[in-house]
Subunit: 190 residues, 2 copies
DNA sequence: CGTTTTTATTAACTTAAGTGAACGAGTTAT
DNA sequence: ATAACTCGTTCACTTAAGTTAATAAAAACG
């Protein structure tokens, strides 16, 4: 299971055996069940996540309604806003299905950065890349209608539509479950 | 003018005189006129930007129509997607008004990182923070109607509505200029 | 200064999303 | 086994955004 992480990192910088051992020694590989809550609204946590297997979801509770804003699948890292700001979280994070995650925290980062300073560069490059990608995804969202977004998801993340219930997908697309149901009907008729 | 940058950085880490001199020596402070194009669609550039004074805008050309996706004002950094991926840009960047920018590039980064390794940490922290903020902004966008987004902008970035033409603001809000005009009318009548 | 171009507004019409409610299939719990 | 709940669908109705076009107002230019 660790190899999934090491393969991912090695695309940016090959790891020495020492470095790999240091990572394993942190004991950050964790197993979760479908529905497990990783972060609650109001909670303050410095934990960060990296999906090795499975799928996790961010959602807000707006007047008792769940509003899903993001899904993270295999090889996707997530640093919740509250882990950066230190303020209490405005959203929930939960497992969409049984998942294996890396759960990181600042202590473990500190250990790694002090022992292997080049991890700092790795994390900088990763963050910059994630930021640019996030902006591109945001742009795509702004430039598209809900229908175009749905069709784009079919192309770019077809597996996501399989593993996620429709009412979660709907708010992810920025519409109601009813509208998504209607849209799918519209598209079939074409 | 440099002090604006140094004040910004000092909130994360105080700079030594040596470090300040090294930054000034890079000669990265540049002056631009309203309408100047910083990046064109199709262009490959590694340049990054930091707004000291003024305002810059990202926009796509969709079938001859400008679609604005982002504005950057004072103290906001921008690393265009193409500067990260090395691929040709899908969007334009232009000055909304006369501006003073820091224009960075990988060469200058390399010089700084090698001379002062702790800049690497600074950039990592900044990137992580920007990423989390960008995600929060994205969430806010997804959770809100165009009207709620407009009202939110009035609260959070009132100066932006003053300095930017309405047709640019419209696509930034995800609607047409006509819809924005209508919406403003609706709101006045309330 | 007046002319050209750009930007903002308005209107009429079309299309799609929001809302509230009802229904049925499938799942979970007791 | 049946009741309770979740999830997806459908319907009728309302609301707001897209579209096309015309016009007014403002800004840029020579």
């Amino acid at each position: 299971m660790q190899d999934i992480l090491f393969d991912y990192i090695s695309k940016y910088m090959p790891l020495s055996e020492d470095e790999k051992k240091a990572i394993i020694a942190l004991e950050i590989f964790k197993v979760f069940k479908k529905g497990d809550i990783l972060l609650k609204e109001g909670q303050i946590s410095k934990n960060t996540f990296f999906v090795l297997k499975g799928c996790i979801r961010c959602y807000y509770d707006v007047d008792g309604q769940e509003k899903t804003t993001a899904f993270y699948e295999e090889l996707e890292p997530l640093s919740p806003l509250c882990s950066i700001t230190g303020k209490s979280s405005e959203y929930y994070i939960a497992c969409v299905e049984d998942s294996i995650l890396i759960v990181g925290n600042p202590d473990m980062e500190k250990i790694l950065f002090e022992k292997f300073p080049r991890f700092e560069k790795l994390c900088r490059i990763l963050s910059e890349e994630l930021l640019a990608n996030n902006q591109a995804t945001f742009d795509e969202y702004k430039l598209s209608s809900p229908e175009a977004r749905y069709l784009n998801l079919l192309k770019t993340r077809p597996q996501l539509l399989q593993r996620v219930p429709q009412y979660q997908m709907a708010s992810f697309l920025g519409i109601t479950p009813q509208s998504l149901s209607r849209m799918r009907n519209r598209l079939i008729k074409k």
